[in-house]
Symmetry: C2
Subunit: 339 residues, 2 copies
């Protein structure tokens, strides 16, 4: 039970161990887009574990998120136990109809809409999405895995159009923390626009399970009612409030991730891999003619370095960022060994 579905995700070396064995120095897990240098919230106070979260604690979390994500005053914000809970819930807010999803993208959106009775149409470009007759539309922004971004004006106009059709544009900004300049969150609060934010990726605290929806008060009330009281754990509220209030940490982490992404590009290109796209939390490469992505994936896995292949896109491979110098050295050596 609960061990989810058949959608392939990174982050579970146990699957790789069944095939490649346990590496002698442990895994360097580059199969996710989670910041490897996490925010360190310090030990969780006992009373946060013992009692139910208090309304004032949740209010403090939402206030911190408003500042960190630049949420306008007229927009509402709701916290959830991970963005995944919102990905499952948002489709239930709308009558079953056509929904277009800009792809290829994160694999959980399509089944969530299908489970709520919608007809899912995958579209390859924002232009194709804009001319589709769908009532609702979903895009991940910047997109996972290729990092595609869209012009904010276009997204806002499209959201208004979908609202007129009785639907909405859902913008999953799970990786927008590293690109605040392209985010639509500062424009949230208007009809037809629902923005999802993920706490765990940029702050490196994915195990905490914390996400947010930023939208109109009317949609936020419906989401909050469906989530019910005490949806977010005490530890997540406590760590999230601290982390989101620490704007200096965010600024420094953005700068570090940016330079690490450049360093990673250098290594990957040096190994003959072609950069397709990405964000500062992950890079997507394509194998050159000489070497298949499968060969690279397997060669790295044998060296204890786990990357993210894409069963539907066999030439692609996604790399998260190494978190410490030893991991950089191992990646560099393993890439050199491939060629």
């Amino acid at each position: 039970m609960n061990d989810s579905n058949s959608i392939f995700h990174g982050g579970d070396p146990a699957q790789a161990e069944a095939r490649f064995g346990v590496p002698k120095d442990g895994w360097v897990d580059l199969s996710t887009g989670i910041n490897p240098v996490a925010y360190a919230p310090g030990p969780i106070p006992a009373d946060v574990l013992h009692r139910l979260p208090l309304p004032r604690e949740l209010d403090a979390l939402l206030a911190a998120a408003r500042v960190a994500y630049d949420v306008p005053d007229h927009a509402a914000i709701v916290a959830s136990p991970g963005t995944q809970a919102l990905i499952g819930l948002v489709p239930t807010l709308f009558d079953a109809a056509d929904v277009s999803i800009l792809g290829p993208t994160y694999g959980e959106h399509a089944p969530a809409w299908a489970a709520a009775g919608h007809r899912v149409v995958g579209v390859p470009s924002m232009c194709a999405q804009a001319v589709s007759p769908a009532i609702c539309a979903v895009l991940v922004h910047p997109n996972n895995p290729d990092g595609r971004v869209q012009a904010v004006d276009g997204l806002l106009g499209y959201a208004a159009e979908l609202y007129d059709r009785g639907g909405a544009l859902v913008v999953d900004e799970a990786f927008a923390d590293v690109m605040p300049e392209v985010s639509v969150t500062p424009h949230a609060g208007r009809d037809g626009l629902i923005v999802l934010r993920s706490f765990g990726k940029f702050y490196g605290l994915a195990g905490m399970r914390l996400g947010f929806a930023v939208c109109t008060p009317e949609i936020a009330n419906r989401i909050a009612a469906k989530l019910g009281p005490w949806a977010v754990s005490g530890p997540a509220i406590w760590a999230g409030t601290q982390a989101l209030n620490d704007l200096d940490w965010a600024t420094a982490s953005r700068a570090r991730l940016k330079s690490d992404a450049v360093r990673l590009d250098g290594l990957l290109q040096g190994a003959g891999l072609n950069l397709v796209g990405g964000t500062d939390l992950f890079r997507l490469v394509e194998s050159s003619n000489a070497m298949s992505a499968k060969t690279v994936f397997e060669g790295l896995a044998r060296a204890g370095i786990l990357t993210r292949p894409f069963p539907d896109h066999p030439t692609w491979l996604r790399f998260g960022l190494p978190g410490c110098e030893a991991d950089w050295v191992r990646l560099s050596a393993a890439l050199a060994h491939l060629t």
Copy 2:
């Protein structure tokens, strides 16, 4: 947003502070049924916070819960971020119809069924529930706040009958940890029976947000699909696995809570309050003629002791158990001061 609804719950002294001020020695919060002597899981490992929970970690949690709750092999078990998530989700598994709820009881069941489009009928007794034409039925077992329990055979027969009507019996066993001998969980896995278990109350870790549904594999798969992957946080999986595996702690805690409940009854009856019922995690009393429950609530609140009044049952007052000797002394003194 998210600050829930208008249903009154205990556990938030801030509401009382607005009226009674902040007590000089702090609050003794007896307004909940949460075990005040919590399981102590020790510091949470960093990687549990950093990465997404792994399938094998969730499997270990479910295995521990199977033993702690005496779940039969043919039954399935699903974990959720708190029982509240299941209270909201289970009504969406059935077509909108009539649902009967044995009351008075925990306030969140009725609005959850109503929100999913069902027509909620409150019934005062198991006999009234059994003759109702409802398709689904809900009872809390033992009941909160009065501690009523039902014969297991009757519940199993009723579950089978509701299944034949296309529905199910939902048994919320949030407080059954202190009465394993009356639990229906060991009989779960048959059609028409959905048992909910709450981790946070007995283990004193309500802030963690962890609950379980024990039911048929078919219903469990539907619940798991609606919850989606990674529904439960890493810290909750980690602490829950340890706590649920610690059967000695559970046995010792049951014994301690039983003797503390007897001690509490003595204090309450000595103060002229009449015992209505309860479990070993809380006691429900009725005021005698000489003194209204409102007078007792207010007198205790002025002494910094928070209890749980019931707006719909003004003669009732619920007391959780004090957690340390100093709190027992304060309660005893405050009760003596009343009379």
